[in-house]
């Protein structure tokens, strides 16, 4: 009797849960992510998954389209002074936070003040170029930059707007546990490393997204994520491991979606210094003691020596896109005229001979060390090994120095005070600002071995590239408010960079997603941010 009763209870529980999920499953979306959001307080961490989740809950003044160009969000429109130094923002009226509070200019002021506090904000850099900001009236807001800055929008859009009324005076922990934004979704629950459940904010100021309820599940193990997709437990997964792509493609109900990401993999060469970094035990050695990387022909030769197509097909399983420039198409300043130097080992050898580095008795021209991480980028260790092989083939003795990312980035940092930066290293870079000028000021702006030329500029210029003309052009671009004009200036910068072979670009990694095609269509974003409003239901 007891047993029967138990059965009865179990059956009814089953029916109940089945019935409930059938109602909600209609417009419900379950996504398998590769990790969890670190915090639902949008400021302390700046990281893809955390940012993407927080963007569901919070809005910024500026939004971005799929090419990462600015579009209106909480600011309905904006105006700028002639030289792009004073910006006026007109805020949207009638917007409410999830808890019902009104959105006003005071919330913007509060959020900007908070984002500047370096101790608790990873986004303080977004306002580093801003001199001051003030309220003009309840829905108008003015920002004054220290210098003309046409890239302000790309920074402002990273600032999530918090509700002053509910957050003021609360601790950081409290804010993290009570996220309250104006965004498309409200938080239902967050169980760390298990699930984040969001429901649609019916009072959202713009177009309502299709999914009524979204569940994000952090599943960090690649195999388990694939298994979840196969079993139908999730509707979509991100970061599909390369080895599972073929298997998933064979399934009738699964669509595999790939898209070049913003992450470019490239080589840095210290070609603008006479004292290249000693690089631990294996320094750069040439017969006459000079720095061969200083010669343009040598850099060209190294470029010609690398068979990128082979890297893409053999190492990357064709899930990468070779590139000639660091800028993804669609970004302001993308230059379609720049072409890759073709793979040509014979020409490479000729160039090296011409540069004054003939093969010595041991068959080598000179010796260098290639530093690379082996757990940061897709197949990074294998790519570096292949590159070393290609260089060896044209007579450059290449020592391989592979490291874990936890030490790699300290080791190669341009601000490494021990002076132990790398004379040749393979790194990746991704910038989701949509403005190639932003990338240029990090990657191309002059920096010397002994310090910055202009504070805050050239932070990842690991080649120590020095070119006042490029610096001037970047400065000019930054003070040019007209996007078309700015694009033209930046195209020139990238052309100069390509002619000087400042870096050797390899490829853009591809982002791979799998989705249940009987239920949804997913249009991926370039920056790998997963947004519920990029999904469309089939039925």
């Amino acid at each position: 009797m007891k047993y029967r009763l138990l059965c009865g209870v179990l059956v009814s529980i089953l029916c109940l849960s089945g019935g409930l999920s059938a109602v909600a499953a209609d417009r419900e979306l379950i996504v398998g992510l590769a990790g969890d959001a670190y915090s639902l307080n949008p400021y302390p961490r700046n990281e893809t998954i955390t940012n993407a989740i927080n963007n569901h809950i919070f809005d910024s003044l500026i939004g971005s389209d799929n090419d990462l160009q600015p579009i209106p969000a909480l600011a309905e429109r904006w105006e700028t002074s002639e030289d792009a130094s004073v910006w006026t923002f007109f805020l949207r009226k009638g917007v409410k936070f999830h808890n019902g509070n009104d959105f006003t200019v005071d919330d913007v002021l509060y959020s900007f003040d908070k984002v500047k506090i370096r101790e608790t904000s990873a986004f303080s850099f977004t306002l580093s170029t801003v001199e001051s900001y003030k309220k003009l009236d309840d829905h108008t807001f003015e920002v004054t930059c220290k210098a003309p800055n046409s890239l302000l929008l790309a920074h402002l859009r990273e600032i999530s707007i918090l509700d002053k009324e509910s957050c003021d005076g609360q601790t950081e922990d409290w804010i993290a546990l009570h996220p309250n934004g104006t965004g498309r979704y409200k938080l239902v629950e967050h169980v760390r490393e298990d699930r984040i459940v969001l429901e649609r904010n019916e009072a959202f100021w713009g177009d309502l997204p299709e999914p009524v309820k979204v569940v994000f599940k952090p599943i960090s193990n690649d195999g388990t994520r694939t298994a979840n997709m196969l079993s139908g437990a999730v509707d979509m997964i991100v970061n599909v491991p390369v080895r599972d792509v073929e298997m998933l493609r064979k399934r009738e109900n699964i669509a595999v979606v790939t898209q070049p990401s913003l992450r470019i993999i490239y080589l840095n060469m210290q070609g603008w210094t006479d004292s290249p970094s000693p690089d631990a035990a294996k320094p750069l050695k040439s017969p006459d003691g000079s720095n061969p990387l200083k010669k343009l022909e040598v850099r060209q030769a190294m470029y010609h020596a690398i068979n990128e197509d082979e890297i893409v097909s053999k190492i990357m399983n064709n899930l990468a896109t070779p590139t000639a420039t660091y800028i993804p198409a669609g970004f302001n300043g993308y230059n379609p005229d720049i072409k890759r130097l073709p793979y040509d080992p014979v020409l490479a050898e000729q160039l090296l001979d011409k540069a004054g580095y003939p093969r010595q008795a041991d068959g080598y021209r000179f010796e260098l060390t290639l530093d690379s991480s082996n757990d940061r980028y897709v197949n990074d260790g294998d790519i570096a090994t292949a590159v070393a092989g290609y260089l060896e083939r044209v007579g450059i003795k290449t020592n391989l120095n592979l490291m874990s990312r936890t030490i790699f980035f300290t080791y190669i940092g341009t601000k490494n005070t021990e002076g132990d930066t790398s004379h040749l290293c393979m790194t990746g870079w991704a910038d989701s600002g949509g403005e190639s000028a932003l990338m240029a000021l990090d990657l191309m702006y002059s920096i010397r071995q002994d310090g910055e030329v202009k504070p805050g500029y050239g932070g990842v210029n690991r080649s120590f590239y020095l070119n006042p003309k490029v610096d001037a052009l970047i400065d000019k671009a930054i003070s040019t408010p007209d996007p078309a004009e700015r694009s033209k200036i930046m195209q020139e910068v990238w052309q100069i960079g390509a002619d000087d072979v400042v870096y050797i670009p390899l490829h853009f990694q591809e982002d791979i997603y799998a989705a249940n095609k009987d239920k949804i269509i997913y249009r991926p974003r370039k920056n790998n941010y997963i947004y519920a409003w990029d999904f469309e239901f089939v039925k």
Partner: protein, 321 residues
């Protein structure tokens, strides 16, 4: 008893002190958390601010002093990754880990010990030999492989159990737990079995070895001659006398399971402490790593204490002091 307690607590303090030193200095050497936290193109001021915030600008012994002070006050500092109390993060994850560990240990206890008794008492029977062979496989198969196979068979091929995750939690005696719902149990099963497998094998083999030795003793023969029922002979007389090493290992295994479910939790996307540890190691999150290891050391000392107490219950001749 009092004297025993005092020595034990003394030991605990010594162990924790040594562990805290080891942990702190080792995590300081491995990796630079700053590089993982600050943007690669961060300005010097940003870097400096982050260093000061994390206290990394101070010399190592000052950092250690601060660490000890905060540890003694029960606060292990703020996690670099999550920007919230390290101890709270561990406490948050503790129940989920305990769930799979409890089920795994129950499985080991209730399956492995009886099987071990059987295999030890009747070593020549077919079933005993089969069990012993299987136990070798249990020990030698790595858990990440077992986990994936279980997912494949039960989650994908037969589709009877969910692939991963914790499932629904319900309220049981005021605690939020998977034990309270059917869905929770379904999610629990595969990770628990994965965890239990190698444990079961160890316990089984240990019980069997002890049983074989005890079964040859005179008091067993005497009991049989007296006409004691077989079950009583096996479980009352023989098992009780082989239990001391089994309980010792059981205690240690329990500790190991609670502390290092890392692999199983990662495979099954189980939101427990083990996953927290591996994430913290990957990110160089020192407060979590130190808090975690001190927590684990504390737990081991505690479990050993419980095991010692159990000895006196199993064998009243043992005197703790």
């Amino acid at each position: 008893m009092f004297k025993y307690l005092v020595t034990r607590i003394g030991q605990l303090v010594a162990v924790l002190f040594i562990v805290s030193m080891l942990v702190f200095f080792m995590t300081s050497v491995v990796g630079d958390p700053l590089q993982l936290l600050v943007r690669q193109n961060a300005s010097n001021e940003e870097r400096q601010a982050a260093m000061e915030y994390l206290g990394l600008d101070k010399p190592l012994y000052v950092q250690y002093g601060k660490f000890i002070v905060s540890t003694l006050s029960g606060d292990f500092g703020k996690s670099y990754m999550y920007h919230t109390s390290a101890l709270r993060l561990i406490a948050e994850r503790f129940p989920a880990t305990m769930e799979i560990v409890i089920v795994a240990m129950l499985l080991s206890g209730f399956i492995a010990i009886p099987l071990g008794v059987y295999a030890g008492a009747y070593p020549k029977r077919m079933l005993s030999k089969t069990v012993m062979t299987l136990s070798v496989t249990g020990i030698s198969l790595p858990s990440f492989w077992v986990g994936m196979v279980l997912i494949f068979v039960f989650g994908l091929h037969f589709s009877v159990l969910p692939v991963s995750g914790r499932g629904q939690v319900g309220s049981l005696l005021g605690i939020q737990t998977s034990f309270a719902t059917l869905d929770g149990w379904k999610h629990l099963l595969l990770p628990s079995i994965t965890l239990a497998l190698s444990n079961m094998a160890t316990i089984l083999r240990l019980t069997r070895a002890g049983m074989r030795e005890t079964m040859k003793q005179d008091f067993i023969k005497f009991a049989r001659a007296k006409g004691v029922r077989n079950r009583k002979v096996l479980f009352g007389h023989a098992l009780k006398n082989t239990l001391i090493p089994v309980v010792t290992v059981f205690g240690l295994q329990l500790g190991t399971l609670i502390a290092f479910t890392t692999i199983t939790e990662t495979i099954f996307a189980w939101p427990g402490m083990g996953k927290l540890l591996i994430d913290a190691i990957n990110a160089g999150d020192r407060p979590i790593i130190s808090a975690y290891i001190i927590f684990v050391a504390f737990m081991f000392v505690f479990l050993n204490f419980i095991v010692d107490l159990l000895y006196t219950l199993i064998d009243p001749r043992i005197d703790l002091s």
